[in-house]
């Protein structure tokens, strides 16, 4: 009831890399300088924060004067790019210490930047990066498929303003995200087919050497 409400913490959306990388449009919902910036997901949701789990396949210090780590983190649908520098000291040091490949979970904020040719790239500025096990990664795939499907179910609802925005800004067929979710789920059934090339269908976590 009070107008002085504590700002609520932004939910970490679940989104697959393929959909995330299709997004490019960002917006604010208030004129306040410090108002949160949202990335518009093509399935019709706003995302100020995301949580994902995938396989860190490469990491590289791309900084010039200061350390600036770039990590490639792969899910069943594509690749997330995360960048961590001096302002994300914990995430940066995690990336520095990690040995690819490894399952990692990332909480972070979407960032967009325009490339020289005018297209918009999207990446993640991590708040935290943690080493996790295969079960956590599988759980995330199922959960993310579920959240994606739920967004698609709501897409044609009257009054779904983010779906309306998505139609205006992207005009992408949402069918592809449905098949993306389905194939991500199906990939879990292929026993032993994990990205680490383990020859064992066991759910035991590949212990990353840190």
């Amino acid at each position: 009831m009070s107008s002085q409400e504590v700002p609520t913490r932004e939910v970490a959306r679940r989104v697959f890399a393929e959909e995330f990388n299709d997004a490019s449009y960002t917006f604010k919902e208030s004129d306040d300088e410090r108002a949160p910036v949202y990335l518009l997901l093509p399935s019709g949701e706003k995302a100020n924060r995301i949580f994902f789990v995938g396989t860190l396949t490469e990491k590289e210090d791309v900084g010039e004067d200061n350390e600036y780590w770039r990590g490639r983190i792969v899910d069943p649908t594509g690749t997330f790019f995360v960048y961590a520098g001096q302002y994300q000291p914990e995430a940066a040091s995690t990336l520095r210490d990690l040995e690819a490949p490894a399952y990692v979970s990332v909480v972070g904020k979407p960032r967009t930047y325009e490339t020289d040719d005018g297209s918009v790239n999207v990446s993640v500025r991590p708040e935290s990066i943690s080493v996790v096990d295969a079960a956590t990664r599988d759980r995330w795939v199922v959960e993310t498929a579920q959240r994606t499907v739920e967004r698609l179910e709501r897409f044609d609802d009257e009054g779904n303003e983010y779906a309306r925005m998505a139609r205006e800004e992207y005009d992408l067929p949402t069918d592809r995200y449905k098949s993306m979710a389905v194939s991500a789920l199906e990939s879990l059934d292929e026993s032993g087919g994990d990205e680490l090339g383990g020859d064992d269908a066991d759910t035991a976590s590949p212990e990353p050497s840190t």
């Binding site: 939910v11 789990v53 943690s130 599988d138 795939v141 199922v142 389905v182 789920l185 199906e186």
Partner: protein, 309 residues
């Protein structure tokens, strides 16, 4: 005239706890006003009630509606309702203000709820673990949480029975996406009944004090739809992290820095899925039970749903 009789009986009932009021007397008074002085019935009733309030030394809002509903705590969903409850005193807390005589948690089969009694009401003290029938308590709401307030008109009757207090704990699950400040190795104010967490060695209430070490985690569980704030107390924190209070103190001592403890916990816990159950307190869920979700999730149900759209 039977109309006046009904009013008279209602008024007599309302005051039955406070005054020796006879319905006939009330009816006489009403009748006098209505028949002799041509006062409308509503106004007459109001006037008679006021005169009895004066006699009893009560305020209008202290007066029960007469014949309250006996309700279960879980059914309380409205502010400022006068109700009767039969409850067990689950826990007494230290009142933070002199105007509060007692504060704590009461429970019945349906759940638990905060209660508060004020010094000015001059009520007999409730004892922890005993069951009471509380007549004429008022419901109160703060940020969606309900409580009951005892007041001067509240009747307290100790019952010789026990109540199996209902478990109203909630269960939340999601990925632990953050550990908030004020977690890890902390110091609490040693003043009797205070236990506030010190900020830079200072207690908000008692100033600079020699704190006592404790462990806790304030975490954020996020399921992609909503966030839930969770507090793990010392035992739960020790169980989750495998770091005991003594070990945490040693770690801090070696590093000359207490933050190494929370850093270690963060590395261990953030980014994995948990299910936490326990009572809700304000915006927090107090973790009584925590389960790390390691079983492989079942993709079938989602797959069926995905294919159906």
């Amino acid at each position: 005239m039977s109309d006046l009789r009904t009013h008279a009986e209602e008024i007599a009932e309302q005051f039955s706890d406070h005054l020796d009021v006879d319905a006939d007397d009330v009816e006489d008074r009403l009748q006098n006003l209505v028949d002799e002085y041509r006062v409308p019935v509503d106004e007459a009733r109001r006037s008679v009630v006021n005169s009895y309030l004066d006699e009893a030394g009560l305020e209008r809002d202290e007066l029960g509606r007469g014949g309250n509903d006996e309700v279960h705590l879980a059914d309380i969903d409205q502010d400022e309702q006068w109700v009767d409850v039969t409850v067990k005193v689950v826990e007494l807390w230290e009142p933070r203000s002199e105007s509060v005589s007692q504060v704590g948690l009461v429970g019945d089969e349906s759940g638990r709820m905060k209660f508060i009694a004020f010094t000015t009401s001059e009520l007999p003290e409730l004892e922890e673990g005993k069951v009471y029938r509380l007549g004429n308590v008022v419901t109160d709401e703060y940020q969606g949480n309900f409580s009951v307030k005892l007041n001067r008109t509240t009747s307290i009757e100790e019952l010789d029975e026990d109540i199996e207090v209902g478990d109203d704990s909630t269960s939340v699950e999601g990925a632990l996406v953050d550990i908030q400040s004020g977690s890890g190795l902390i110091k609490r104010c040693p003043e009797e009944g205070c236990t506030r967490v010190l900020q830079n060695g200072r207690c908000n209430e008692h100033g600079n004090v020699d704190g006592e070490f404790d462990l806790r985690i304030k975490g954020v569980l996020d399921d992609g739809d909503a966030v839930h704030e969770v507090i793990f107390g010392r035992e739960m924190t020790e169980e989750l992290t495998g770091i005991s209070l003594e070990e945490a103190q040693e770690m801090a001592m070696d590093a000359l820095d207490t933050t190494v403890v929370v850093d270690e916990m963060r590395t261990d816990l953030v980014g994995t899925y948990y299910r936490v159950s326990g009572p809700e307190l304000g915006r927090y869920v107090l973790a009584d039970d925590t389960e790390r979700l390691t079983e492989p999730a079942d993709p079938e149900a989602v797959l069926i749903k995905a294919r159906s759209i």
